[in-house]
Symmetry: C3
Subunit: 407 residues, 3 copies
Amino acid sequence: MSATDITTRDERLSQLLRNSKPGYTLPQAFYTDPEAYAFDVSAVLTRSWFMLGFEAELQEPGDYLSVTLGPHPVLIVRGRDGVIRGFHNTCRHRGAQICAEGSGRLPRIVCPYHQWSYDLTGKLLAASRMPEGLDREAHGLVPVRVELLEGCIYAALTDGAPDFEPFRVAATPYLKPYRLAGARLAHESVLIEKANWKLVMENARECYHCATGHPELKVSFPVVFGAGFRVTDGSRNAAYVEAMRARGMQVGPETGLWWHVGRYPLNPGIESVSLDGKPVVGPRLLDTGGEAIGGLRWATEPNSFCHAFTDYAFMFTAVPSGPQETRVISKWLVPREAREGVDYRLEDLTAVWTRTNLQDRDLSENNQRGVNGLGYRPGPYAPGAEELVIRFNNWYRATAAECLGIR
Amino acid sequence: MSATDITTRDERLSQLLRNSKPGYTLPQAFYTDPEAYAFDVSAVLTRSWFMLGFEAELQEPGDYLSVTLGPHPVLIVRGRDGVIRGFHNTCRHRGAQICAEGSGRLPRIVCPYHQWSYDLTGKLLAASRMPEGLDREAHGLVPVRVELLEGCIYAALTDGAPDFEPFRVAATPYLKPYRLAGARLAHESVLIEKANWKLVMENARECYHCATGHPELKVSFPVVFGAGFRVTDGSRNAAYVEAMRARGMQVGPETGLWWHVGRYPLNPGIESVSLDGKPVVGPRLLDTGGEAIGGLRWATEPNSFCHAFTDYAFMFTAVPSGPQETRVISKWLVPREAREGVDYRLEDLTAVWTRTNLQDRDLSENNQRGVNGLGYRPGPYAPGAEELVIRFNNWYRATAAECLGIR
Amino acid sequence: MSATDITTRDERLSQLLRNSKPGYTLPQAFYTDPEAYAFDVSAVLTRSWFMLGFEAELQEPGDYLSVTLGPHPVLIVRGRDGVIRGFHNTCRHRGAQICAEGSGRLPRIVCPYHQWSYDLTGKLLAASRMPEGLDREAHGLVPVRVELLEGCIYAALTDGAPDFEPFRVAATPYLKPYRLAGARLAHESVLIEKANWKLVMENARECYHCATGHPELKVSFPVVFGAGFRVTDGSRNAAYVEAMRARGMQVGPETGLWWHVGRYPLNPGIESVSLDGKPVVGPRLLDTGGEAIGGLRWATEPNSFCHAFTDYAFMFTAVPSGPQETRVISKWLVPREAREGVDYRLEDLTAVWTRTNLQDRDLSENNQRGVNGLGYRPGPYAPGAEELVIRFNNWYRATAAECLGIR
């Protein structure tokens, strides 16, 4: 779009945002309108950190992840020097996507169309049949920012994303006891949801709906939380907080505008999030000598939350794929030494979160249908039960305002 | 959209409408353009009465119908006081759709997302985990207007719909002899048609195409009519008109800008619209002691027509679902005491209109394909054979002009 | 759209085009944006010649082809006088599509909706139930321009298409030795590709990708060409050029802004494009007494290329069907006397081009995915290997500039 068109669109969105109330759901257009989606994928989301997966998926030089964020294909690859880098997954010749979505290993980055070849740092090595004078320096892959956090991979499409350091500093001590960098990807799933990504994320940011919506999850997960995982608020959790302190472990939560990390107790007598609350993997992910210490949750706006338990970790990410369509990508990490069929059964490992995801899909799609109607009015969030939704909403309002230049 | 955007769109549509000729099909954009569709569902259709179904479907308190008009989910429910009310089917909390599309019975209206509960009058009863100070009066379900006419349910999304009374006054004596309020829904069907709703309705407003297009219908139905069902025009019908007068029954038709009602004779020797022209239901719907008196047709813009015969009634409604997609919802009513398999066979009851609907779907989709092309020119309606299409076209022109402020 | 809206859109496209570099792929919006697609189908493509098929498909009076170009349904029909004419395939009454997509034979052109009848010259013959005063002259089918070239049928939607004569004059001597007008359609295929039509055509205009992308094609086809089929450039082809000259046959290529025709040698020892390089049809298409003379290629912007060999001819056309969707229609012509199962096996005839088409579909769809991303930058074409892509790109730039009034 031209500057003029973007101005028109942005004026409209600015006006809607200015006239809307914090603490309430967004004006209808933000959940329904193709132009608001275009704004999100070209502005809000290009200034954000996306969680993409784990270092454990890229063990060797040349190992890559290829994902598409909105319309933007992205490639994450480990170099010969061991460094993990990110690139726009688009050839500088005719614009073909270089690596198909998914993962794999490659010695060089070769476009399947006309075999333009790049090294693992994105430098153009060869472009057959191009004139001698082709400026190779000017035709390398366009870089994408990558940050690593104790084995987790985050990427940002542009330099407009916020400073990563505060999150890294705060989250590192929480994550360190889990051996994520040395773990192994046991399972990955992709779910298409017919709902705007912000409705998917609002759903993912509260457990107000869990008691009725997630019968399997609530067996082990403290669904009455959700209020920011501030376990210090409840007297019931005093013993947990005390036990963690005795270990020298922080409970948190600690937060920034776009991130959140904290520990929490599971339900009484529960060791892990599984159908029966018992660990589902033999070897332990957590280096505490087998002792369960509840759960660890870390989450980033716009699109991720993770939970780590004594035996496995779970990642949830929502990737926008249309005004009213979102792809939910989930990953399960286990200790590297755990053997499928021997140390764990995949069905047991994935049972709770798979069902939870499917239930959430139905809730989000139903939410979309209601939001589409003439009867939709922005509604109030519950200050406690929906605290993290309010945080998401505030983050979106702030980032959109910044993109729109109205802050 | 902002006031500015709507102004731009509406200026364009106003210009097209002003430059177009009454008595001719509409300018291309009205049948093809996503913006014209947005105009229709947000303006023209929110000022219109939609026929939704029958009181007979809501026998008991808590019985409901959930339908979606364009993008707008709507809920119709019978209260404990027996009154039938309408609501936007969108929760005032996070905007979820409350009742899934279809029908059923419920003691209260409970949102499946976070269990906000409303009574059958739409009043908010409970919103767990919300602060004490929540203003319940301000968070009831948003009402939708409902009018009943001798057992038929009509709804309007806003107060912009026209006065219902003239239609009620005119139509009541025609409908009264049929016992619709006490009948029973025997069958319902939904058909997706890849055509703009106005093409579907133009097709539904004439029988110029019936002689070749509907071989089953033409056995019983006087397909040479269609010219406004003005049976008094043809000498052939003099006996029919005389017989009705002798009974003290009006023949009509009587009309308003957006409604039409009248009686007509079926083909010679025919008692009902069925494959062989004989009644398909044992018990009679009509309280004339078993004597056939032809058909009764009542129709409303934008989207319905109904026919009642001696033994059953048929409802056709077209619900826009996209710029070039429409859902046709049909219902068949029989006397409440009629037992399926004993007093009627469902296959016989539905044979003619089901085939007619499928034939009309093909005609409408083919119409859409032709209208999409560069060779499309607004064409002339036949003043007689397409009289009711001209009425639809005039109603649309008038309502659109009113919405656009160009009257 | 109104003049105002078109102005806005066109200003944006003009600005993008002016700021872009010839010799490079187009700005992103031209490959991705719904508005650019609307511009293409309403402006660029309505001023272009489309290859639709062959006279051989319309042997008798009343034989027709019905195709849809973008949203525009078109009808090509042979009259009683033997003349082949084109019409917009849209009835002048209510705008229905008259002939379903495909081919067939009809005595008159009768709309299936209300039986308005036109003769084979498009004149309105009958419109039942219309008033006496209907001006039949004013309600004939809207004509489409048709040109024939040695058995090939080309059509243009408006008078804005360029002069056909230079192409006819140049191409006739090349095409004449092939007996296309008297041949027979042996096979036709349609392939849906999820890519903008310009990406499909860029793919179809080079063989830079053939060595790795088309293992079956490269057996027989000189994939190292592609550089404008200028066979005179390579010393390897001197013998071929000499042999053609000895026969009095031009080699070419000859070119206009939007057309290209030339002969070329197949790989050494190869007689036709087939899996093993041997002819796949017994009788010969080419009137050279059975002697192979390589291939003949003729191609037109925006959407076609054809190859003729000693035994068969192949047509490739790309028809836009959405911003990121294209229908590829291919046809195989054989000598009329060739009998399937006796003189040729359909599987052998179609093997190479069917596989090549499927491979090209994957390449084009992958190209689209990469072009959609934030990392897309217009990239440089190889001046030699992509000469015909540069020609396509230049043609598009010139035609778009003309439509936009910026030349």
